[in-house]
Symmetry: C2
Subunit: 387 residues, 2 copies
């Protein structure tokens, strides 16, 4: 087990009707609130009105910035930074899913920085502090509600880049599973894939003695797998929605990383695809993760066999561990298919035309991944496995 | 799943040589540090010197209060409160195990209160704030390093009582598994039992839809069980010590309670025993938990069968779930025996002479437990099962 520092102080307020506490939680940080959100769904559902009312009851001064798109854009982040600087915003309240929260985080960091916020994503500058962030989560997927990271897309060249800082962890996150009842099946499945991918990125490590975190990862994966078909068949099943929502947070709050170095190659590869094609992040992961696994499993057949056995109940064949390992990958791929995800690029209408370009762009700052270090040529091969 | 609020912001600094960061972490809270510890073991091991040096390097003014005993006493807590009030202590640094940390927490709360600190334990007063607490952990067991609770014994009547408050969570906790190499086997086993009991108290709940936390509990239990004999056979096995140490924290940081109400009857019953007999808390739990299980398992045979199957690999006998359930209890009892714990009161030289007295005292503020509510007569029967 490696040395580690773990601190995640985000206050989770979980359960039915919890959005009513938004104003009360926000009030601890000041009066000037920037309400940040995506499209019209929170207005149609009544959530927008409920939150504005909750904020007004605390005499908050509410500023607004809507319009966050999937794969959130740096141009909107810059608008948010300007509002924060002009108005002296005390708290950015992100109402939505990972895109909205990531956008809020980038704004939060940019508001405390003289230069351009994209500098944080190119490594030109480091975050030194942020405006506090609060969250009302509507899409369980990205885990951004308690993570320290953000992923933003720069339209100028379609670069999709990540950065993180401890100050970017939201102060509070309100999670009401009822708010996820109206998520369409495809988006629900994308979220499920994303949270599973967050766990898988951590699971495939070269660290040998990480039994507790291995087992915690397996516990979270099994729970997600066991509830996925239920939430798709019964969108208003509270208990199943609650399991998925809480698992999505645990998947990415850094507990499952303690003592180990995860891989993250598949996420980086997917960023290249969704940077160009505007495919949903979860769908991209459903395609790339099995391909990545097929490409790297020989690096540690035992770990893949353990994954097959403990997560998918594949019996361990001691005479043919490779067979056991491959069955686990097959089960994962079948599962993604069964929840309506594409598992080949062709299913997402993505051809081979940009393979070389994506492989080049993805590795221009160095090889990807930690479990196995992937060079440009490796990425091209993974894309071919994913065709 | 029940609604819940979860927040645990303790900064964990885990791994080899991490005690060197004590001064640096403490410095964030001020210069006046009350160093709180137990007996001479930290002086013999050199840990005391290393910590004092680390504090002095940050120009800290170090005050000292040693002498914490197992089942920490309110009389020493009162001494600590007086020092904090007189000297304006900025941080209480607990170096030791659960007793030292619990004592530090009581001091921290008492220092911010006009009346007598015992008032918090009788319900006469509520904690409203505390002096910040830091921890260097030497015994993985109680989980007090990130919990919000403390258990103190009042020698005047030998009452052992618990209380908790969010402000009592330590600000930081330094966990170096190497510091646990010198723990004697008996104390190691007591710690293992204590952390398992913390998980079991949470596991036995009447809440039906808590799959994620069930599985996380099972993951932590299996890890502890799988590493217990290793740390006893090889006291200096870093990886096994690390698994046990980190599991001890996870067992009691409240993550495993989310969405559910635990039982806690066995802990309360054990407090009556160790209040009178000065038996190690872990040893008391090894005796009481199996007895409690035998007394209550019919309340939810399915849950006990799940425990037997998922934690102990007992095959589920669908024609006789009760048999499956009982096998799980038997496995737990055998496990406690195998690590050198007593599983009967007689093994700890405790007779039946105080059964009625303990049952009466234990229930004088109401029935114990939540999974099954236990009255005075129930406690007597559990004591008889534990004879």
């Amino acid at each position: 087990m490696q040395n580690f520092v773990f601190q995640n102080g985000t206050k989770i307020i979980f359960g039915k009707d919890t959005e009513q506490f938004t104003g009360q939680e926000a009030a601890a940080y000041g009066k000037k609130i920037l309400l940040h959100y995506g499209g019209g769904s929170i207005k149609a559902s009544g959530l927008y009105d409920a939150i504005v009312q909750s904020l007004r009851e605390q005499n908050a001064e509410v500023f607004e910035l809507g319009g966050v798109q999937p794969n959130p854009r740096v141009s909107l982040v810059r608008e948010g930074v300007a509002i924060c600087k002009e108005q002296g915003i005390d708290l950015i309240l992100a109402v939505g899913g990972g895109s909205v929260i990531d956008s809020a985080k980038a704004i939060a960091a940019g508001a405390k920085y003289e230069g351009d916020v994209w500098d944080f994503f190119t490594g030109k500058a480091e975050v030194s502090g942020s405006v506090p962030i609060g969250v009302v989560l509507t899409i369980p997927a990205a885990g951004s509600e308690t993570s320290n990271g953000t992923v933003i897309t720069n339209e100028d060249g379609w670069y999709k880049r990540a950065m993180g800082h401890q100050s970017l962890r939201p102060q509070f996150a309100i999670l009401n599973p009822v708010l996820t009842y109206t998520l369409p099946p495809y988006q629900t499945a994308c979220g499920i894939t994303d949270m599973m991918a967050h766990i898988l990125e951590r699971y495939f490590t070269n660290e040998k003695h990480v039994e507790l975190t291995d087992r915690l990862c397996e516990a979270a994966l099994r729970t997600i797998i066991n509830n996925a078909h239920t939430v798709l068949a019964e969108p208003a099943n509270y208990d199943a929605r609650a399991e998925i929502m809480w698992a999505g947070t645990i998947a990415h709050n850094d507990l499952l990383s303690t003592g180990r170095i995860g891989d993250w190659g598949s996420h980086d590869i997917e960023h290249e695809i969704s940077g160009i094609y505007d495919i949903a992040h979860g769908a991209g992961l459903a395609i790339i993760f099995p391909a990545w696994m097929k490409y790297v499993y020989k690096h540690d057949v035992n770990r893949f066999a353990q994954f097959a056995n403990r997560v998918w109940d594949v019996e361990i064949d001691l005479n043919d561990l490779e067979k056991t390992a491959l069955k686990g990958i097959e089960k994962l791929e079948q599962f993604f298919s069964s929840i309506g995800m594409p598992v080949r690029l062709a299913e997402a209408n993505i051809g081979a035309e940009h393979f070389e370009e994506m492989a080049k762009k993805g590795t221009e700052r160095g090889p990807l991944g930690n479990f196995v270090k992937l060079q440009e040529a490796d990425l091209v091969q993974i894309f071919h496995l994913a065709k």
